[in-house]
Each structure stands twice: as structure tokens, then as C-alpha cells.
């Protein structure tokens, strides 16, 4: 029998019993729709979770820490940062050189941390205006986080800090800002040993420290309310920063250098923190493990995301399982319909066998009929789920607006990716075919004598 004839015959048989076919298909529609909607909720939740983690920072970045000062702690030096970059799957690495400075612009002031990072790091920053600092310049250029200007305040006479009440006090791209760098441990040591009586008046000597006017060449993208991982900080090129600090702190290199066993400052850079940029999300935990094995503290957003994702997988499985129960009921409905159809068509099947219809063709006819029920139910169920999904998202969207931007789920809490659509239809066809298998086998074995008997 030709496949085209088989399909036409199957469809004609289904149309002969319209009401029953429609009811059986309806069962599959409900089953498919409940699976798809349930899974779309799970998927929507994990998608907004990924988005949430992404807003915390890149999912392919690993942070490495070394804050301890005892001998066991491994130091992060330029050499270790370079060794990170040589690990497989690592695209680049960057040390993080931090300097806390006092900033002043007109009557506003603020405490700001400058972050010296590599060019690779800087390139990850999405700018709203201006440009990135060029590598190894004579002049120290800064990139401001879009929320960083909110750290400036004005002091009232009573000493209260006024952060501007939503009004931005300083525009780094336009206003001139002066920076005062810390005295450093060398100066404190001198003060401590030479003139201990003057230690209390250290504060009054502050104005004598040199002010530097540093240009801001770029701003991170986003308004003063749009958070991202670069929003609150001020960045500059690490090599330029090193050169700049050397001028102030000479041999110490940095304001507060590590000291060796003899109490002398070390003659290389020691970082508290470094970043590793991995090529793909999947490789993050592997690289992170290697860094931990090297003796460093490391963490990544991916690590937290993976943990949450495992929980989400469970939630998805439970939701999908709830949906699957109704599809199981639908499958039983298909079995029932096909069984009834066999009893009704016993004579017809007998005639077909007497006329020479191959037994496998009879089996395939029944499988096609039940598969077609699955297909119709699957497609209709998918369309229904898309409707329900849109409805859920609209309802959830209006609730969310009331709550404010507490939970941002850009694409809605119900999400049907293309693979889920394809999967659900194939799954419904599969369920239909499997449900039709026992009835089909039975039809195939029916005796042709049923056609001969005269009722």
C-alpha cells in the first residue's frame, strides 16, 4: 500500500467518526497544552534568572581573590595573572589595581575607588558616551560608571551629607574634578617615627597633598537608575595607572604595598583581585576549578547560576510532570477510541484481509490514525499554549507594573522556545502512535472470517 493512500484512508476513517475524533483530539490538545504551558513557565523563570545573573555581571567572567595576608595565602602577581591567561578556554585575564581617592568638584566631594584594569577588561564595558582610555598613556584617563556620579555629595555646616536628592551634582564629562591620592604607608611610617607628637595633626596636613585634575573620557551606558556591573565604579588603564602611581609613591609602587619578612615593601605588584575571561559559559566551571586547584579563591556568576539552574531543572521537571499526567490521560483516551473503532470495524478489517490487504498495512493504518490524532492534538495544543502563554504574560506584566521593577522578566514569565514547540508536536505524535500500538496489533491479528459471517 502506498503511503499516500494509507494517509488518505486514515483521515477518511477519522472523519467518519467526527464527534469521537474531535473529543479524543481535544484530550490531546489539553494534554499537550498543559505540558507546554507548564514547561514554558519553568523555562520563562530560568530565562529571567539568567537575565538577572547577567545584569550582575558577565556569565563568562571569573573573579579571583587573595585578601589574606598570612604566609599561606597565595599572592596574585602579574606573573599569576599571565598564567591564568595561558589556561585552556581562557580568552584573557586582567589584574585589578585599586586606589581609593578623594574627589572634589566645586563644592561637591566624594570618596571614589579607581580601578586599574587591562585593555581586555575595558573593552567589555559598554559605553554610553565618550571613548575608552587608550593603553599606556602619559595622562591618566577615566571611565565613569553611569551611577558613579551619585557618590558625590555636598556637606552642610552641621556635617550632614546631601547627595542631591536625585539630582546629579557632578557631570564627570563636563565638570572639572580634582583627585587627592592617599598619603600611603611610607608617609605614615615617617610621621610615626619622626614626629609622633604631630600624628594627631595628620588630618590638618591633608590640604598640603597634591591635587590632580584627571579627565573623564567616557561614561558607561545607561541612565543614573540603570544598574549593571560597571555602574558604580571608575575605571582606567592599568599601565597608565602604574606609571602615574610610581610618580607619587616612587619605589613603593602603590600607596599601601605588601612587605616582605624584613618589613621592606616588595618590589612587584600584588593584587587583591583579578579577572579571568572564559570563552564560553559551559567552560566556566572547569576553568574555575583549575584556578581553585592553583590555590586561589575564585567565584563566578556562572557558579551561582548553575546552582540555581539545578533547582530550576527540578522545578521544570515537576511542572512538566504535572502536564504529562494530563497527556497520559489523553493517551488512554486514544487507546479507548482505537479499541472501540476496532470492534466497530471488525468486519471491514476482515474484508480488507480477504481482499489481500497486507497485515502490516492494517497495522500501519491504525498507527497512522492514532498518530494523526496525536498530530492534530499536538498542533492545536501548541497553538492553544501560545495563546495561554501570551495571556499569562500580559496578566503577569500588569501585576509587575504595579510592583515596580522588582523582578524584571523582559520576555515574560512564560516562554515557549522553538524547540519546545517542535518537541511538543513530535511528542504528541509519538504518544498517539504508542497508544495506537496495541489496538493496531490487535486489528492486524483479527480473523478474516469476520467478513464471511452473515449477521
Amino acid at each position: 500500500m502506498r503511503a499516500s493512500d494509507l494517509i488518505i484512508l486514515a483521515i477518511r476513517n477519522l472523519l467518519r467518526r467526527k464527534t469521537r475524533t474531535v473529543l479524543t483530539v481535544l484530550g490531546v490538545v489539553i494534554g499537550t497544552a498543559s505540558i507546554v504551558v507548564m514547561m514554558s513557565l519553568g523555562l520563562g523563570m530560568s530565562r529571567s534568572m539568567v537575565e538577572l545573573y547577567q545584569s550582575f555581571g558577565s556569565l563568562t567572567t571569573i573573579s579571583v581573590y587573595s585578601y589574606g595576608t598570612d604566609d599561606n595565602t597565595k599572592e596574585i602577581t602579574d606573573e599569576t595573572v599571565r598564567s591564568f591567561a595561558r589556561l585552556p578556554h581562557v580568552e584573557a585575564s586582567s589584574p585589578l589595581l585599586q586606589v581609593d581617592v578623594e574627589a572634589r568638584s566645586g563644592s561637591a566631594e566624594g570618596y571614589i575607588t579607581l580601578y586599574g584594569v587591562s585593555q581586555e577588561y575595558l573593552q567589555q564595558i559598554e559605553l554610553g558616551s565618550g571613548r575608552l582610555p587608550a593603553p599606556d598613556q602619559a595622562e591618566l584617563e577615566l571611565v565613569y560608571g553611569n551611577m558613579a556620579p551619585r557618590m558625590f555629595y555636598k556637606s552642610s555646616r552641621s556635617g550632614e551629607r546631601n547627595y542631591g536628592d536625585g539630582e546629579i551634582l557632578v557631570d564627570p564629562m563636563k565638570d572639572t574634578i580634582f583627585y587627592v591620592f592617599p598619603e600611603g604607608s611610607a608617609a605614615q611610617a615617617r610621621g610615626g617615627s619622626g614626629a609622633s607628637s604631630q600624628a594627631s595633626s595628620a588630618g590638618s596636613s591633608a590640604p598640603s597633598r597634591k591635587k590632580y585634575m584627571l579627565p573623564a573620557v567616557g561614561m558607561v551606558k545607561g541612565g543614573p537608575e540603570d544598574y549593571n556591573e560597571f555602574s558604580w565604579d571608575v575605571y582606567c588603564d592599568i599601565d597608565t595607572l602604574k606609571t602615574f602611581l610610581k610618580k607619587i609613591y616612587k619605589k613603593n609602587l602603590v600607596p599601601y604595598p605588601r612587605t616582605n619578612k624584613k618589613g621592606k615593601p616588595v618590589n612587584y605588584y600584588v593584587y587583591n583581585q583579578a579577572y579571568i575571561f572564559v570563552d564560553k559559559m559551559e567552560n566556566v566551571s572547569l576553568v574555575q576549578q583549575q584556578v581553585s586547584d592553583m590555590g586561589y579563591q575564585a567565584n563566578s556568576n556562572m557558579q551561582w547560576l548553575e546552582q540555581s539552574q539545578q533547582t530550576m531543572k527540578m522545578v521544570e521537571a515537576v511542572l512538566g510532570g504535572i502536564g504529562a499526567v494530563s497527556l497520559l490521560v489523553a493517551a488512554i483516551g486514544i487507546v479507548n477510541t482505537m479499541m472501540m473503532s476496532i470492534y466497530e470495524r471488525t468486519r471491514e478489517i476482515g474484508i480488507m484481509k480477504v481482499l489481500g490487504c497486507d497485515m502490516n498495512d492494517i497495522r500501519n493504518l491504525f498507527l497512522t490514525e492514532s498518530g494523526a490524532i496525536g498530530f492534530l492534538g499536538g498542533v492545536t495544543g501548541l497553538l492553544a499554549s501560545c495563546g495561554v502563554s501570551a495571556l499569562i504574560n500580559r496578566l503577569a506584566g500588569s501585576i509587575e507594573q504595579g510592583l515596580g521593577p522588582v523582578i524584571s522578566s523582559g520576555g515574560g514569565i512564560s516562554y515557549i522556545p522553538p524547540w519546545l514547540g517542535a518537541f511538543s508536536v513530535l511528542f504528541a505524535i509519538g504518544i498517539g502512535t504508542v497508544a495506537g500500538y496495541i489496538p493496531a496489533k490487535r486489528a492486524m491479528r483479527l480473523s478474516p472470517l469476520a467478513a464471511i459471517r452473515n449477521e
Binding site: M1, R2, N13, G356, C357
Partner: protein, 258 residues
């Protein structure tokens, strides 16, 4: 070729069928032997319950014999499995039913073409073949009618066209006129005789009615699962097919008992 002509199309030897109902054993067929010649119209006759249908069903491979041999076109039917039997019917056998057994949801043309669907014949070829045989039988004007819209005689004609459409070597008919009135019965019988003659088919027909059986070339009478009598009817069949057998046919017509 000549040996092929003299060789029987169907050969039955010591065929037995025993039904077990509880502890009872019913000998529906109790050692039957006969041959069927090519191009012959054979009637199996006898009272109700004598085993006619059982015999025909086993010839068509619808039932398994308890013992004995059935050879059709040189093939041992009794040794075939169900798949082989279906394939054998598909290639060589046309079947005509008492209650017509048309598919109610299909029109006459589709019913006639049905066996060709099982052979995987393309649609256009099927249409052509169905038209050819409906025209032959004189029901071409009914092609679009549904079975429910047709009289018994018309339905049985569709049934006959359906049996013919695969151009079978052998046709089986179990009480083909059983549901028809007497006028229609003689029309259908004439049609069957014409087909055997013109198309060169071998036809085996079961009937309990001696009058109907006499339309055949030869009658085999059954009684309690045994053959009691073989009657050669009028000799015109023998005249047409085997002119040399003329005298033997006349003698045979007097009747021979087993």
C-alpha cells in the same frame, strides 16, 4: 503449455477440518478430495451445515485445515503462513461475498478499486481498471453511488467487479445470490457464467440451492463433510473450452458417484 492446461488449477486431497467445542469434536470436513480444471465454473452444493463454506474458506486460505493438502496454481496453500496467504489472495484470488461486503463509506468506484490500493497501484491506473470492469458488468453509470443508495443486485455487481479488478486466476463466491430475489439471481448467475466464459476465469461457487448450482459446469454435492456426488452439468462449457473432451463430458453428465 499443454501439460499446464491439463493440470488442475486446484487440487484438494483428503482435506479434514475438525472443530473442537468443549469436549465435542465436529468433523466439518471429513476427508475431501477433488480437482478443479482451469476455466471451470464449479458449484459446491449440499444442505446447510454440510461443510461447503468451511471448504471454500480453506481454499481461500481464510482458515487452516486440520489435515490434508490444498494445491492452488502449484502452491501448497495449507503450508503458508498468514502473511503468505494474504499475499497469495492479493495476486491470484477474487472473492465474492453473500452480503456483498462493500465499504459503506466509499462509492462504487472506490470499492471496485480497493484491491488495487492494497497492491500499491497508482490512483489513475486504479480508476482506469475500475472503469473497465464496471463497464464490462454494466454498472459504470453507478460509479459515484454509495452502497446504501444501491439495490442488492447492483451492490453484488459492484462486488463482482471488485473481485475481477485484479484480473485473478481464481474466483470464490459463497452464496453470491443468497440475498437476492429470483429475477436478480438469474441475472447475476448469467453474469458469472459470462465472465467465466469470456474472461477465462476459474470460479468456485458455494450454494445450498440445487437449481442455482445447475448453472455451473460441474457440481460437487456435500453431505456431513463428505462428497456424495459429482455431477457434470450441460456440456456447452466443455464444448467451448475442451472440444476433444466432448464425449467424455456427455457421459460424465449422466452423473458419477464417489
Amino acid at each position: 503449455m499443454s501439460s499446464d492446461k491439463t493440470k488442475p488449477v486446484i487440487s484438494v486431497r483428503d482435506l479434514k477440518k475438525i472443530y473442537k467445542i468443549g469436549t465435542n469434536r465436529i468433523h466439518a470436513l471429513d476427508g475431501i478430495s477433488f480437482d478443479v480444471r482451469r476455466g471451470e465454473f464449479l458449484a459446491i452444493t449440499g444442505t446447510s451445515g454440510s461443510g461447503k463454506s468451511t471448504c471454500l474458506n480453506m481454499l481461500a486460505g481464510l482458515e487452516q485445515p486440520s489435515s490434508g493438502q490444498i494445491t492452488i496454481l502449484g502452491k501448497r496453500i495449507d503450508r503458508m503462513n498468514e502473511h503468505e496467504l494474504v499475499a497469495f489472495r492479493r495476486e491470484h484470488v477474487g472473492f465474492i461475498f453473500q452480503s456483498y461486503n462493500l465499504i459503506a463509506s466509499m462509492n462504487a468506484e472506490e470499492n471496485v478499486a480497493m484491491p488495487l490500493v492494497f497492491r500499491g497501484v497508482p490512483r489513475e491506473e486504479r480508476r482506469a481498471a475500475a472503469h473497465k470492469y464496471m463497464k464490462l458488468i454494466g454498472i459504470l453509470d453507478q460509479a459515484g453511488h454509495m452502497p446504501a443508495q444501491m439495490s442488492g443486485g447492483q451492490q453484488q455487481r459492484v462486488g463482482i467487479a471488485r473481485a475481477l479488478v485484479i484480473d485473478p486466476d481464481i474466483m470464490f463466491a459463497d452464496e453470491p445470490t443468497g440475498n437476492l430475489d429470483s429475477a436478480t439471481t438469474s441475472e447475476v448467475l448469467d453474469l458469472l457464467r459470462r465472465i467465466v466464459r469470456e474472461q477465462g476465469k476459474t470460479l468456485i461457487m458455494v450454494t445450498h440451492d440445487a437449481g442455482i448450482a445447475s448453472a455451473a459446469d460441474r457440481q460437487i454435492r456435500f453431505m456431513d463433510g463428505r462428497i456424495t456426488e459429482i455431477i457434470e452439468s450441460r456440456t456447452e462449457a466443455a464444448d467451448d473450452t475442451e472440444a476433444t473432451d466432448d464425449t467424455e463430458g456427455c457421459i460424465g453428465a449422466a452423473g458419477e458417484s464417489v
